[in-house]
Symmetry: C2
Subunit: 557 residues, 2 copies
């Protein structure tokens, strides 16, 4: 790696001399499925999290996650929903093949459905006995129509990588998995428009596109497991939003099965269409509460020819903002990621990350920044980044830094950002808050939460329960991830953090969910971000389109 230093900057030529060419392979960024960590693997493709410690402190046994209904005894099953009967099973068997149904029987042994009943964080667990995995949109239509008539509650499930308990049942809801709806439908290399089934894994879609010189306009850590339909249903943001914008802009059409079984499709190949209300927008971010997304038409982006990654150190959060403004201006059209991490994030990650990923800087600093550029001309991008870094170091905004010189180094730098969520969780548990705040106030939340935890005598060495409250995230999007790493889950920690965090975010006119959604975790807190008239309109919509309330109940609003 090329280390940056003020000496190097003073002799500007040095930078150019040291710089080696970096050729860009199809997969320049680390995919979560490639991560190797200290943890044992739980799921086939997703970042492993079965860590030592008490992450399953709600458990009945050493490997059991406690049921959501036991952890939240105030949430009751709505008896408006019918319980699954043998007639229902008979119907599902009549329209689906054996490969499309998983049923545990009526006993208490739900283990074979654990992967479907439990969320990725092992924080929520439902009690569904039935998973349906239909292979066609028409079958989904038949299923929903039947469930609606019979008042059987349904949870749509994509890759089940949700972080707010939205993709697993709370009680005995039927799980409707999109796993078997996983075909690329078509791709037009001239317009860059991709049409695919909702169940296509994001990484598979991206790999397919890369073979055709394009990329998916969204990237995130869970790409090895999450579905294209799932990222739309949750309006995922991720690492490329700064460059390619939100899914509300890039999704061109959706195919959706409504609760009554109607198939509503706007799966066209058009970048512009102003004929009537843009209905598809309602389903982007609705977390499967209005209908099930079964197909996606999306504008993809040309594959960048060159990628650079730089890892920088700054003295304080004010400097983070200064570097961001400077990068927006000087790197402008080639800036593709601007991530920041605080010292505590990196300290946690150091304990957890594999030993063959050396920390890129010699010393520790209060804040770190990862900048990625993507462009069509390597020499131009190098020159822009070099000029930018020289001036940032000369003016002493940036105090230390390094630039990746090959793909391995590039991946290693990304790893220091991408391993933070896992590192926060691996020592017991984690309380995750994903919030939007005006940029100037972004980091203040981490500071007040640390203060609050100290005052409550919860933060410190064992046996105190909280290890650290760390902050990192997508500065470019005003999106902070506050992770409170704990040695165990406890109501005392939860009550110290909530609703305090939501109240603080609300007082700064932020959003209590920047990209993770509401799900089960935040459904009671929407009023911290949304006004009464807005919530009323949402309830109206939900009631209007899902009058029997069968879609993903106990969540959202």
């Amino acid at each position: 790696m090329l280390k940056l230093s003020r000496t190097a900057v003073k002799n500007c030529k040095l930078l150019s001399v040291f710089k080696r060419s970096l050729t860009c392979s199809p997969n320049v960024r680390l995919s979560s499925s490639l991560l190797v960590s200290n943890c044992n693997s739980i799921k086939k493709t997703f970042t492993p999290i079965n860590c030592a410690g008490s992450i399953r402190s709600y458990s009945n046994g050493p490997n059991a996650v406690k049921l959501t209904s036991e952890v939240y005894p105030n949430v009751h099953r709505n008896n408006h929903y019918k319980k699954l009967s043998s007639d229902d099973l008979e119907y599902f068997n009549s329209i689906l093949s054996k490969q499309e149904i998983m049923y545990t029987g009526t006993g208490n042994n739900l283990q074979e459905l654990d992967l479907y009943n439990e969320d990725w964080m092992k924080k929520y667990k439902g009690q569904s006995h039935l998973v349906l995995k239909p292979k066609s949109v028409e079958k989904i239509s038949l299923i929903l129509n039947y469930c609606n008539e019979e008042k059987l509650a349904v949870v749509p499930q994509g890759g089940n990588t949700d972080l707010v308990g939205a993709s697993v049942p709370v009680f005995d809801e039927i799980i409707l998995s999109l796993n078997n709806l996983n075909q690329i439908r078509e791709f037009d290399p001239v317009s860059g428009i991709l049409k695919c089934d909702a169940g296509v894994i994001l990484e598979n879609a991206d790999n397919y596109l890369r073979e055709h010189d394009h990329i998916f306009p969204l990237d995130l850590g869970a790409k090895g497991s999450c579905h294209v339909g799932g990222v739309c249903a949750t309006n995922a943001g991720g690492l490329r939003l700064l460059r390619y914008g939100s899914l509300h802009g890039s999704v061109l059409g959706l195919e959706v099965v409504m609760p009554n079984g109607d198939i509503v499709s706007s799966m066209h190949s058009l970048r512009k269409d102003n004929t009537g209300y843009d209905l598809k927008q309602l389903f982007i971010g609705a977390e499967g509460t209005l209908g099930i997304i079964t197909g996606v038409s999306i504008l993809t982006q040309p594959k960048p020819q060159a990628i650079n990654v730089s890892f920088l150190a700054v003295q304080n959060y004010e400097a983070v903002q200064k570097v961001f403004v400077k990068a927006k201006k000087e790197l402008a059209e080639i800036l593709s990621a601007f991530e920041f991490m605080d010292q505590r994030s990196i300290q946690l990650t150091k304990k957890h990350i594999e030993k063959d990923t050396p920390f890129p800087l010699e010393e520790e600093y209060p804040f770190y920044i990862l900048i990625e550029t993507s462009g069509s001309n390597k020499a131009h991008d190098d020159a822009k980044l070099e000029t930018f870094l020289e001036s940032a170091m000369e003016s002493e905004i940036v105090i230390d830094g390094t630039i990746a010189q090959d793909e391995t180094e590039l991946q290693n730098l990304w790893k220091w950002r991408e391993m933070i969520p896992e590192s926060s969780q691996c020592q017991g548990g984690v309380y995750k808050y994903d919030v939007s705040l005006p940029l100037k106030d972004l980091y203040s939340l981490v500071e007040v939460v640390n203060k609050k935890l100290v005052e409550a005598d919860l933060l410190g060495s064992a046996p105190k329960p909280v290890i650290a409250a760390v902050g990192y995230g997508h500065v470019g999007d005003g999106n902070l991830h506050l992770n409170v790493a704990t040695r165990l889950y406890s109501k005392e920690i939860e009550c110290t953090l909530e609703p305090f965090v939501y109240e603080y975010v609300s007082s700064k006119h932020g959003s209590i969910s920047a990209e993770h959604g509401l799900g089960f975790q935040k459904k009671n807190y929407i009023s911290y971000t949304k006004s009464e008239p807005e919530i009323k309109m949402m309830k109206d919509l939900k009631k209007h389109y899902d009058s029997n309330g069968i879609m993903n109940p106990y969540k959202f609003i």
Copy 2:
């Protein structure tokens, strides 16, 4: 201007030698308000269109536009709507100042409201006696609440530059103008987020932003008149969509007054917010049929440091597509516009454009392309464009071309694209179709329409009524503008074109309205683009939120 030639290309150095530096002023692109043409000016700021000829062939007198109700006798006033009474006027006078009300009295003399009753194309004319121009959101809320209770129909009106008759009344609807709601609320140069009233003129917003090193993420010919709220209400696309994406992505929040007077606001400063359904999306492109947009929060873009414009000639439409694919790949992140024009567009424009705007090429060609690049480094952009053009000419895809060498030349090149709409209209009238089509089929519509007009014996020299059917538009967005320039409006031409054009677009899975919306003109044709379930959902929404149907009636769906 720097002329491109294959000789120049063969001796590559020549290009570099000839190239002079082009410094970029704050207003590099031609604003419509600066256009000077052969026409007399009608409105203060918008492109003049009061041309000689029979554009007002529906007129009762030399300067009168015929009433919509007379031209479309099958459309009847809905007597469910109350007629304006003295009590109503008394109420409006009680909440508004004199500057906020224009009332003609009950007589037939509507002239003083012509600017509000007539659309920009002089094709539609309503009969409203009352224009309300409230200065606050609260007053708009009171007005709508009253109108809803009293069943008084309302037409929201921004800059009144709509092209499908959406912004003027059909009968006696009250016009609610946003003209007096025109303040910038705040701008944050760090995040680039602008909040403003809906009635701010687009060009004013853009000028304000340029003073703060930013630009509005949308540009269009009507910028001198159209309102920020209006472009959101119509989901305008314009010239920068290729680069900055659609308003569904860049609008971060809206303040909307609902038909019952409720003020629903999501005017936050957040780039990401996943708490509940994204309600604001419903109002983007709804043409004021669900509520009135009164405030807009939008992500703006850093002002480019360098802009290049090149005007190229190619032999056929296939070559247009080839150049587009090549430009997307090689100009990639700096490509900010890719417009095409056919030979007939330019021939029409040559007759109309002022004499101090020489045609940039020596010969005529079947197709022309205008490429704009915007970036942060002039030298890099020049190098990219140069390499791109050299290879395009060497491979003989591009057969002639020129690059602007200073701002005047740059504006002149843009003029050849921007004057086409006006030129199509100035000899009598124009039938405008703004459609989306898959790229490969985009130009075929112009060919079949010309064929159809010849077969109907309508196209040719006077006295035949049609001068030419020309095609141009935003290739980057799959958006074709088909303009049928006529010597007069006639039912024979209209019946030859409609529904033929819509049927053809539908057969190619296109959209009958790419960016202009449905309005009055296309309301009956939505089923050519949208399916029954979609239309049903839209009608549901309309009924749900505007149960008395007071918002912009006789339009949309």
